[in-house]
Symmetry: none
Subunit: 222 residues, 2 copies
DNA sequence: TAAAAATTTCAGTTTATTTTCAGCTTCGGA
DNA sequence: TCCGAAGCTGAAAATAAACTGAAATTTTTA
């Protein structure tokens, strides 16, 4: 689950990044409107947190432009309470939700969960493949009633695979989804994590869920 | 599916080539405008990815010239964010779509699919010949409800034949489409792959889809 | 700040795919 | 019906993709 935060105040931006990362989101930052728009338009994110007041291009414009480009990523707009009146305009521009600063971090998390859940057919907040389940709200991974402990990256990779279950994802796609855009990760890293996941998820079970499709990539399926 | 990338920055060009090849496209590179125009005019490609800023001849000119020559291959124009204003002019010059750098590779793939889908009668993203189907989005090949596993090259070859179903393609054409133009592959290699495909696709079925037309080439048809 | 854990890279191995080779078969025209 | 070109085939050689154990590096935790 990859989130773009567009916020010009570095302090706030970094705090958000840190907090969200602790919640196992992958977070990229953009510090002005133009940069934010370009990042957002890449289509590489599952959700965008957008400050209203931004240098270069403000949140409303970004929003409008993205929607015009037929990019329908969920957008959560941040606004100072003094700008509350722009709320209506904000919704018109295509934002999906609103949050006025200052806000409690829990509030933000709740809304992110609400937004990211929306377009999915996830059964509650749980992704399932065969007898394997991944609970998005408490990060519990369970196979055959046995809890499985994963590291942060292992979890992200598994989540990515499970969100696209049955679909083949190649290593570059996985890198793009699971790691931040700056990082240049070797394809071998993905291989290593797939191996780790297999040790924990498949090793002790007859049915192997993670499949290698040589020359194409990996997928998870029952 | 053969794509020409015209891009003077070698790093980007090679990254694109690599990425697209992993998606089973056949990719050729041109590094300046003139070279790009010549390659494009050969009519050997299914799609052209064109950088706006190029030495010798820029993207807009290439576009215009090609359209003047009545060459209507889909063109996807790449532009840096600072050049966003040229967008309008770009569409006027005959480009079919636009993408601002930097972009996520998935975005590029989505647009390529959109463009290449346009002139075809592909039922969604599925190519069909008789009871054989090839799903372009998850690489699944199915005949009579039975999944068929193909290697990467086998898949590319089959995709090529199916995109031009009923049309006879000779070995040189197949080499040009499935392998890159630099590679010097023996015609026998094609024979070997046709054989492999037949083993997997035709062997256990009464109706044989892959046909040899001695002296002319191969075709796939019902 | 030292120890533990997680992340990433490295280098060697295994495994599958790609390509070539050499001999064989088939087809069509002299 | 015989010959040569075109195509087919099984297997070997060359290449490439994926896997693996362990080391190096970074981050987290106590």
């Amino acid at each position: 689950m990859k989130i773009l935060v567009v916020e010009d105040e570095h302090l706030i931006a970094n705090a958000l990044k840190k907090g969200l990362e602790q919640e196992h989101y992958i977070v990229d930052l953009a510090f002005d409107g133009l940069e934010g728009y370009d990042f957002a338009a890449s289509g590489d994110y599952d959700l965008i947190i957008l400050d209203l007041m931004l240098p270069q291009m403000n949140g409303l414009e970004i929003c409008k432009n993205l929607r015009q480009e037929k990019i329908h990523i969920p957008i959560l707009m941040l606004t100072a309470k003094s700008q509350l009146d722009d709320k209506v305009e904000g919704f018109n521009s295509g934002a999906d939700d609103y949050l006025t600063k200052p806000f409690a971090f829990e509030e933000l998390l709740a809304r992110i969960r609400a937004l990211s859940r929306r377009p999915q057919k996830t059964d509650g907040e749980i992704l399932t493949v065969g007898d394997l389940s991944l609970n998005l709200s408490n990060y519990e991974v369970i196979r055959q009633n046995k809890k499985i402990l994963l590291s942060s990256k292992e979890y992200s990779l598994l989540e990515c695979l499970m969100r696209h279950s049955d679909k083949i994802l190649n290593k570059d796609q996985l890198i793009q989804h699971v790691w931040s855009y700056e990082s240049d990760i070797l394809p071998n890293t993905v291989e290593v994590y797939i191996r780790n996941l297999r040790q924990k998820i498949d090793k002790n079970y007859k049915v192997k869920l993670i499949k290698t499709i040589r020359g194409f990539g990996y997928k998870i399926s029952d």
